[in-house]
């Protein structure tokens, strides 16, 4: 996110008379609306299909429903109070105040410093909140009560996402530390993936986990989901420049390139380890690469993007085939294995590969050319996110679970499938 930089530059401008009244830039407005639409499609279409294709046919609608409803609920929460908590005036460095509930005090005619409407900024940020919580669903699919999920989404966006977004982007205490996170590697991917793991451990394993074969309903859907995620990620990363300019163009190119490098890397890993290059692997690789490049997109050059992309797959591959087997948690669709692990790599790799010139003003790398200092800052912001997310997700899930009388469906429902038992529907009548 370039918020930091934007603030810097508006400070710079502040000495000039016209600085506080940015003029509408139709090109930037056009781009930011499209970027928002692109990030939107990532959730109810991209992620929903990516996940749905991996679940068993008897739970396919429940999977889509969790993602779809997360998008809708998070959007409502965001407009009503989430945005205010994240971007309202700072309270103790931890959270924003509630002044902008219902977007109170923000006129449709307000413009951000790059000359596009504040309402578009709000909509754009809302799609980030939505996908973050939706990512977490991938870890707890096929066994979680739908009512618990709904409660969790509302609470989590309010009490976990909004504070973290505030700390990192909205003027909170991490805001001034100079961490480099171009488009939300920490706030979105590590955050969502880790919340998934915590929830997966608390809710427990699926019946038959590691024993019976749980075959994916259709990897065709997963591949289509990955393609749509890739498509939407252009808005996610290049949109996080908040302008249609050269940095956005660079972020765009690097995003595409890193994703491609990661997809091919996973294909190769599959080939060497198992002798069979899977389509699930290619799709997972693309996503891992996209996750890894997210914090770095606008800061790196071709070599950096290549290494970050390949590393995303390498670590993601290890996350879903190694780490998971080691600890035997049931991170069903690997939200943790892909989003957290590749996101962690990306956050650290950003410190390693960001170019001094492209790094935001205010970061140790940009201001003093201090790469070691930068790495320390990157680690700090990772550590804060991890601690905060683990603790708060556990609290929030516990509350959601109590409100709804337990987070888990009955064993019979799990065996029969959540589509028919919870939703009264079946995925396919072909």
């Amino acid at each position: 996110m370039m918020l930091f930089k934007l603030v810097m530059s508006s400070l710079a401008f502040a000495s000039l008379a016209f600085a506080d009244t940015p003029k509408l830039d139709s090109g930037n407005t056009s781009w930011m609306m499209m970027a928002t639409a692109l990030v939107m499609i990532m959730t109810p279409a991209g992620l929903a299909l990516f996940y749905a294709g991996m679940t068993r046919a008897k739970n396919v609608l429940n999977t889509v429903m969790m993602v779809f409803s997360a998008y809708a609920l998070a959007t409502i929460v965001w407009v009503l109070w989430g945005y205010s908590l994240a971007f309202g005036n700072d309270v103790l460095g931890l959270i924003g105040n509630l002044k902008h509930m219902f977007l109170n005090g923000i006129s449709y005619s307000n413009l951000e410093s790059n000359g596009y409407p504040s309402y578009v900024f709000i909509a754009f940020q809302g799609t980030f909140a939505a996908i973050t919580v939706a990512i977490a669903s991938g870890s707890i699919i096929e066994r979680t009560k739908f009512s618990t999920w709904l409660a969790f989404v509302v609470l989590w966006v309010t009490l976990v996402y909004a504070p973290i977004a505030h700390m990192v982007w909205g003027g909170g205490f991490l805001f001034n530390a100079g961490a480099l996170d171009f488009a939300g590697g920490t706030v979105v991917h590590m955050n969502g993936g880790l919340a998934g793991l915590v929830a997966a451990i608390m809710i427990g394993k699926r019946k038959g986990f590691m024993k019976t074969a749980m075959m994916p309903s259709s990897i065709v859907l997963t591949a289509l989901g990955a393609a749509l995620l890739w498509f939407g990620w252009f808005g996610f990363n290049a949109g996080s420049e908040f302008a249609a300019d050269s940095i956005a163009g660079s972020a765009f190119l690097m995003t595409n390139f890193a994703a491609a490098a990661a997809a091919v890397t996973w294909i190769i890993l599959d080939y060497f380890k198992y002798g069979k290059p899977t389509l699930l692997g290619a799709a997972s690789g693309a996503v891992a690469g996209l996750v890894a490049i997210t914090p770095a997109a606008g800061f790196v050059d071709v070599v950096g993007a290549l290494i970050i992309g390949m590393g995303g797959s390498l670590f993601g591959f290890w996350g879903v085939t190694g780490l998971k087997k080691l600890f035997k948690y049931d991170d069903s669709l690997d939200a943790f294995g892909v989003h957290f692990i590749a996101g962690l790599w990306g956050a650290l790799a950003t410190g390693l590969f960001a170019l001094k010139d492209l790094a935001w003003a205010g970061s140790p790398l940009h201001d003093k050319g201090d790469r070691i200092g930068q790495m320390v800052v990157q680690l700090e912001s990772v550590a804060v996110t991890v601690v905060f997310t683990v603790v708060m997700t556990a609290v929030v899930l516990k509350i959601a679970s109590i409100i709804t009388g337990g987070a888990r469906v009955s064993e019979e429902e799990e065996v029969e499938g959540l589509d028919s038992t919870i939703h009264g529907e079946e995925g396919f009548h072909l």
């Binding site: 038992t421 009264g424 529907e425």
Partner: protein, 112 residues
């Protein structure tokens, strides 16, 4: 030679197969069928209309054995498939007059 046909609950297939293997019966043919009996189906919704699913998914197992394996097979299937609840299914035994192994052309008991 007899054919033993069993209609069982889908999630019991693995248990039944394992039980048959232990009884030295290793060749089986399995198919998906739908059963209608005393067990009640769940209902599906479409636009607020509730449709009871009258036919429940079941698995049919077919295994052809020599006469001295019949009781063993019945016992194995029963053990594997039993939950004690309605809908556990049935086993049917019927006569088989001849068997041919296509690969070798063998006939009768040897071909099973």
């Amino acid at each position: 030679m007899k054919k033993i046909e069993a209609i069982i609950k889908p999630f019991k297939l693995d248990d039944v197969k394992d039980a048959l293997m232990e009884a030295d019966i290793s060749r089986i043919t399995v198919s998906e069928v739908k059963g209608h009996g005393r067990q009640q189906g769940h209902s599906e919704l479409y636009r607020g209309n509730e449709y009871v699913v009258e036919y429940l998914p079941k698995i049919k197992i077919e295994v052809v054995v020599n006469d001295d394996f019949v009781e063993k097979a019945i016992e194995a299937i029963t053990n594997g498939a039993k939950t004690g609840k309605i809908g556990d299914g049935k086993i049917f035994v019927s006569p088989i007059e001849d068997v041919v192994r296509i690969r070798t052309g063998e006939r009768g008991n040897d071909a099973i």
